[in-house]
């Protein structure tokens, strides 16, 4: 039952799945271990998740963190309808239920739940979810999540910034920002600089453009058919504010565009037909992922529910590489730009001639990082781009004069 079958050897587990409900499976010799870092998760719920017929299009995880305190509790439950998860993905929940046929999973970790019959499990067998929780020390027995720890793992600013109550901003269709200066006036969009604001509302059919930096707000609401563009942007929503996106709206375009930290317990809500690319971390909140949405990024909540027909993609893996850098000749202290189609936001450092650039980055986005040529680099230098999973060395050398 070990790992290694080709995709032509897709195996169903109908006959054996019931045994797994006993939680007695050993981890197979070649089977993948459960990924337990938050960054691997597309959906991470502390207590409960129900994701209907969600399709996940790349290798990432969906998990419920806490163990069920007892068999009648909803805490610890992960409920699937007819989901379709891509190869390399992992689903994990103490009590995982498959309510419909046609399910396609890759790795499944669970200890109990109803029978998962007639599913396609592309990396069998079902494995036990042991130990619980997914991330050590984040959910105590009795289903008690450590919200503060999860906020820390998400990268919440500490202390969490206050918003500017009353300094509300509105984006109205075809108009500049209302209630705050517009950095690019007269273009029919609200171009908002980073800073402290009150309630931010993007009205129906309006467009708001956000740039790299932090927006500390009391709430952030996007109405129907609206657009929010961002790049390297963080929105920090102070309690009791909420993050809401209306139907047919677009928020962010791609990985790395937007991070949303929602403090407090207000519900996060996405409507229907939404396209969103964001990392949304609201560990104290119920996160409602809506219906017919295209979801790129990560969604962390106390509970997470998704109505039908949602598609999910998590952002970049944990490795990265570069396609090119410019200039190819530089002096110590010059800034060089490294670009790549893989997600460069996961880069942890760059070495030039074996010397780490310090600070590690002048700037970093999904598509480009900039570093300063460090003191000591000289001659034809190898460039090394490091990420948690490895290092990439381009063929081309940087000449440092």
């Amino acid at each position: 039952m070990g790992f290694g079958g080709s995709k032509q050897h897709i195996r169903t587990v109908a006959a054996v799945a019931a045994l797994a409900t006993l939680g007695m499976w050993p981890v197979a010799g070649g089977a993948a271990p459960l990924r337990r870092d938050l960054g691997s998760y597309f959906i991470f719920a502390s207590k409960f998740a129900h994701v209907k017929n969600l399709s996940i299009d790349n290798a990432c995880n969906v998990g419920v963190n806490c163990a069920a305190p007892n068999s009648s509790s909803k805490c610890g439950e992960l409920i699937f309808d007819d989901v379709t998860f891509a190869d390399g993905s992992q689903a994990v929940g103490d009590r995982t239920f498959c309510t419909k046929s046609g399910v396609v999973l890759f790795d499944l970790f669970r200890n109990s739940g109803g029978p998962c019959n007639n599913i396609t499990l592309n990396d069998p067998p079902i494995q036990p979810f042991n130990p619980t929780p997914i991330i050590a020390g984040t959910c105590a027995p009795g289903c008690l999540p450590d919200v503060a720890k999860l906020k820390q793992l998400c990268g919440f600013p500490d202390p969490f910034p206050a918003c500017a109550l009353g300094a509300d901003v509105r984006a109205k269709e075809g108009e500049d920002c209302i209630g705050a200066p517009d950095t690019v006036p007269n273009n029919g969009h609200c171009d908002l600089a980073p800073g402290q604001y009150g309630d931010v509302k993007v009205q129906r059919s309006a467009q708001m453009n956000l740039v790299a930096g932090e927006y500390d707000v009391c709430s952030f609401k996007v109405a129907r058919n609206a657009t929010v563009l961002a790049s390297g942007t963080t929105i920090a929503i102070a309690a009791p504010g909420s993050f809401r996106v209306g139907g047919q709206s677009k928020v962010g375009l791609k990985c790395g565009d937007l991070t949303v930290f929602q403090d407090g317990t207000s519900r996060v809500t996405l409507g229907r037909g939404v396209n969103i690319a964001a990392k949304v971390c609201a560990p104290g909140a119920a996160v409602k992922l809506g219906h017919g949405n295209n979801l790129i990024g990560q969604f962390v909540g106390d509970t997470v529910t998704a109505n039908r027909d949602n598609h999910g993609q998590c952002c970049g893996g944990r490795c990265t590489c570069i396609d090119a850098f410019t200039p190819t000749t530089a002096h110590v202290g010059d800034v060089i730009s490294l670009t790549g189609a893989c997600d460069l936001s996961v880069a942890t450092g760059v070495k030039i001639c074996g010397i780490a650039a310090a600070p590690p980055f002048v700037s970093k986005t999904a598509g480009e990082i900039k570093v300063t040529v460090p003191v000591g680099a000289s001659g034809a230098c190898t460039i090394e781009v490091d990420s948690p999973q490895g290092s990439f060395v381009p063929n081309q050398k940087l000449t440092v004069n």
């Binding site: 032509q8 399709s55 790349n58 190869d87 419909k100 790049s231 598609h311 490795c319």
Partner: protein, 415 residues
């Protein structure tokens, strides 16, 4: 003439990659138009009409032919309020913006006196409106090497060039009309063998078939390989995935149609669909479609409010409102997120996975010994572990692409 908004929105997009304050001076260093077909998210030989499309990645939208005259529809690229990501390029001899407040990155057009209608250009060019000239035309070279350009004077298209650029087999395969396939709701294949019966979906082996019909709520898995189909008709609320990269050939007069609320493919590299005939290809509403579609003789209707991943090539390409586009990675480097198992014997199969495009890998080395690649797709590579000398050995795992070498932090134990 409407306002020409040549602004500094590159800063607003958070890039600031040029280190300049914009204006015409920036144009001298602007990238030239990409003319290779893989760079294009949408490529139409004659005409493209795209409502408020959003393109999230740095790829191109282009119309190949030159306008024979200003009243001709040929050579026109018509936008309504587009949102095209930084690094993208829009190119059409006559490019028009019919609804205000769109945004593009680089614009190549020759009708620079026509209004931009408030459209912002992220990376302005040398022409008065902020565009760059589109010259020479056609965009696509004479790929098939015959005497005819891909689009000659008078908008005379040589479809062979686009077919060659798409990699159409020659001769184009036939289908087998005697083997129609029906995919009922939540059931195995009907009409042909199911490769994995009893799992509530149709698991289809590669081969030559007739018409493929996916009925409402049907679920279909292409196991991977080449499928020669007479037509593909996908109903509403369906789910079609590829367990491994799958190529679909549809000879004339076959068509491709995908209904509302359906998903077809999940990611880059899942599906390549080549349509030889001239009947329209049509997508519905609210779908999620990932494929490289090449239908160079047809009208391609991309539908409404769909998420479109890959490439869409046609004679004419139309998109209704609210479509979101993602092209597949255009870079050349790659890396590995993880491999497994972590301990293996010589001759065993090692699987490497990544969110970067693994089709860019040219070689995998284990303990610096080249490994034979047994399968390769965008998300996964399988290799056979070579003899690495005395065992057990603690081996590095390297993946090599045309631009560099990636070394995984984890090591592999070879027994």
């Amino acid at each position: 003439m409407g306002p020409n908004v040549i602004d500094l929105r590159r800063l607003a997009w958070g890039l600031a990659l040029l280190g300049t304050l914009g204006g015409v001076a920036a144009a001298a260093g602007n990238p030239p138009l990409r003319r290779d077909l893989p760079a294009y998210f949408i490529f139409a030989n004659r005409t493209a009409r795209l409502k408020n499309i959003t393109l999230s990645d740095a790829c191109n939208i282009g119309v190949n032919c030159q306008r024979p005259n200003t009243s001709s529809e040929c050579g026109k690229l018509i936008f309504e309020n587009p949102t095209l990501a930084p690094g993208s390029q829009a190119a059409g001899d006559g490019t028009f913006f019919s609804v205000p407040n769109g945004s593009v990155w680089q614009l190549f057009r020759n009708n620079f006196n026509d209004p931009l209608n408030g459209t912002t250009i992220g990376l302005p060019g040398m022409q008065p409106d902020g565009s760059d000239a589109l010259s020479p035309l056609p965009i696509l070279a004479n790929v098939d090497g015959d005497a005819n350009p891909s689009c000659g004077p008078g908008c005379v298209v040589d479809v062979g060039d686009l077919e060659a650029a798409c990699g159409f087999p020659d001769p184009f395969p036939t289908c087998d009309a005697s083997k129609p396939i029906i995919v009922p709701a939540n059931a195995d294949c009907s009409g042909v063998p199911d490769a994995n019966p009893g799992n509530g979906r149709c698991d289809l082996a590669p081969g030559k078939y007739g018409d493929l019909v996916v009925q409402q709520f049907g679920k279909l898995t292409f196991l991977g390989g080449v499928y020669d189909l007479c037509s593909v008709q996908v109903g509403r609320n369906t789910s079609t995935i590829a367990a491994a990269p799958s190529t679909i050939h549809i000879p004339p007069p076959g068509t491709l149609a995908i209904g509302n609320e359906s998903s077809f493919g999940q990611k880059c590299g899942d599906f390549t669909v080549q349509v030889k005939g001239t009947q329209a290809t049509t997508f519905g509403r609210n779908g999620n479609i990932a494929m490289n579609l090449c239908a160079p003789s047809t009208i391609v209707n991309l539908g409404h409010n769909n998420v479109l991943t890959g490439q869409f090539v046609g004679d004419t390409v139309n998109a209704n409102s609210d479509n979101d586009g993602h092209c597949c990675q255009s870079g050349n480097c790659t890396c590995v997120d993880e491999f497994r198992p972590s301990s293996i014997t010589v001759g065993g199969t090692l699987t490497l996975t990544s969110s970067c495009d693994l089709t860019k890998a040219t070689e995998v080395r284990i303990c610096d010994v080249p490994a034979i690649i047994t399968s390769q797709s965008a998300g996964e590579i399988k290799v056979t572990v070579p003899a690495v000398g005395p065992t057990p050995a603690t081996c590095s795992v390297k993946i090599i692409s045309s631009v560099g070498v990636y070394t995984a932090a984890a090591t592999l134990t070879v027994n």
